[in-house]
């Protein structure tokens, strides 16, 4: 047991170097499988997202009834709430991917996290912007520093910080590790975002859909909202999958170019 663990370390550095290089290519054997699987899933994901949004958006934005006191402004909810859910659900995915990358050193998880964070930052920005647009006519203010709004702003900075940090290192692997650590530290913010409206007095209203008793929305508003959430989630997944596939292929091309250059050097 002990000897098996120490053997690769005991190998002379000269012997380890070519093995590592070969390992770099071998490491994408698994991503190759991912590429094959993803290529089959991608069209289904993309087209179901298009279809779901083609049904959900007209339903929510045109056909659903207004709210008795908010009037037509309630339609902002159909964008705002799915974006908020995706901002948090996506971050949960980032945290899980980061944990997997740290523990099992899975390069595919690193790549997926790297491609996830700009999309996560975008949906969080949309959540904040639509919330602000709703807040001005309804609350009477664009922004307040209550616990919910502030914690979502922190979530936005975490997304941005992760996206920037993983790209800030010349050594991609080091950047990915730093990003994974940041993502996991930032995960403590998730329960704060979710429960801020229950733990403290906030201007933001408590959750409507996931209440312990019945949802506080009439079905004529609830169903189009759930349809929008499904459509946006599918679109989010399709976008992240497409970005991850592109990133894996980019890595492959770079590895092939490097190998070709090395051959040309030697030959």
């Amino acid at each position: 047991m002990e000897t098996a663990d120490t053997q690769p370390l005991a190998a002379p550095p000269g012997a380890a170097a070519p093995m590592l290089r070969g390992g770099n290519l071998h490491r994408f054997a698994n991503p190759g499988q991912f590429l094959r699987l993803a290529a089959r899933v991608q069209p289904w994901l993309t087209w179901s997202a298009v279809l779901a949004l083609a049904v959900a958006l007209p339903w929510a934005l045109l056909l659903s009834p207004p709210d008795w006191q908010q009037g037509e402004t309630v339609r902002i909810l159909y964008i705002h709430v799915p974006m908020a859910w995706l901002a948090m659900g996506g971050y949960l995915g980032l945290a899980i991917g980061s944990a997997m990358a740290l523990v099992w050193r899975h390069p595919l998880a690193d790549l997926a996290c790297r491609e996830l964070s700009p999309v996560g930052a975008a949906v969080t920005a949309l959540c904040l912007a639509t919330g602000s647009l709703w807040g001005k006519p309804m609350w009477g203010t664009w922004w307040v520093w209550d616990a919910r709004l502030t914690s979502v702003l922190v979530l936005f900075f975490l997304w941005l910080g992760h996206a920037a940090l993983v790209r800030a290192f010349d050594d991609a692997e080091r950047g990915a590790r730093m990003g994974a650590i940041l993502a996991l530290i930032g995960a403590v913010n998730l329960p704060v975002v979710k429960f801020s409206v229950d733990w403290w007095n906030t201007l933001h209203q408590p959750a409507s859909v996931t209440r312990i008793n019945a949802p506080g929305l009439h079905v004529d508003i609830l169903y189009p909202l759930l349809a929008c959430a499904l459509g946006f989630s599918l679109a989010f997944a399709a976008l992240v999958l497409a970005r991850t596939r592109a990133a894996v292929m980019e890595r492959r091309i770079r590895a092939l170019q490097l190998a070709a250059a090395r051959r040309a050097d030697q030959g």
């Binding site: 207004p66 908010q70 944990a99 530290i185 733990w199 506080g216 929305l217 609830l222």
Partner: protein
């Protein structure tokens, strides 16, 4: 295998430490994380005079008095209540659209020596219910809900209500 296991335990341990540190910090700052105080909080422990704070609660039914001050500016007085306690609020400015009796509000201002809260800002607070106007009308007509008295009845009683089939004119229950 053992290395992975060790990394996993290290990660879980770090998570536990970080989680408890955050929980302790949030508990320590409990009072500062509150966006507004309720009239009962004020009754229990009045903030020092002259210090600005936020007061939140429901606008008490029948308490809104709209007047025009000597300088022609609107002068509104209303009571903010959380049930057991109420604080009178004076405000000279434009109220948000959602402001009405029975609505939640958050006001920023200072408590005067006469016990009147002089607000410089009034924000409306929306509750977590959403319903089409027809459903709200049906609930009001059937006597199940008066928006001026506060929050709507339990959502299970109305969130699948079809307004056209709602029993109209039935009062009480």
């Amino acid at each position: 295998m053992t290395k992975k296991r060790r990394r996993l335990w290290l990660l879980l341990l770090c998570g536990l430490g970080l989680g408890s540190a955050t929980a302790l910090t949030l508990t320590a700052f409990q009072d500062n994380l509150v966006f507004f105080r309720s009239p009962s909080d004020i009754a229990r422990e009045a903030p020092p005079p002259g210090r600005a704070f936020r007061l939140g609660g429901l606008v008490e039914t029948g308490s809104v008095v709209r007047e025009t001050g000597p300088d022609g500016k609107p002068d509104v007085r209303f009571k903010v209540t959380d049930g057991p306690n109420a604080v009178t609020v004076a405000y000279g400015g434009v109220l948000p659209d959602l402001f009405r009796e029975g609505q939640g509000v958050v006001t920023l201002g200072k408590l005067g020596p006469d016990g009147v809260f002089r607000a410089s800002e009034v924000l409306a607070r929306h509750d977590e219910t959403y319903m089409p106007p027809e459903v709200a009308d049906a609930l009001k007509k059937s006597g199940h809900w008066n928006p001026e008295q506060g929050a709507p009845p339990p959502a299970a009683t109305w969130n699948t209500l079809e307004p056209s089939k709602a029993p109209a004119g039935r009062s009480g229950s």
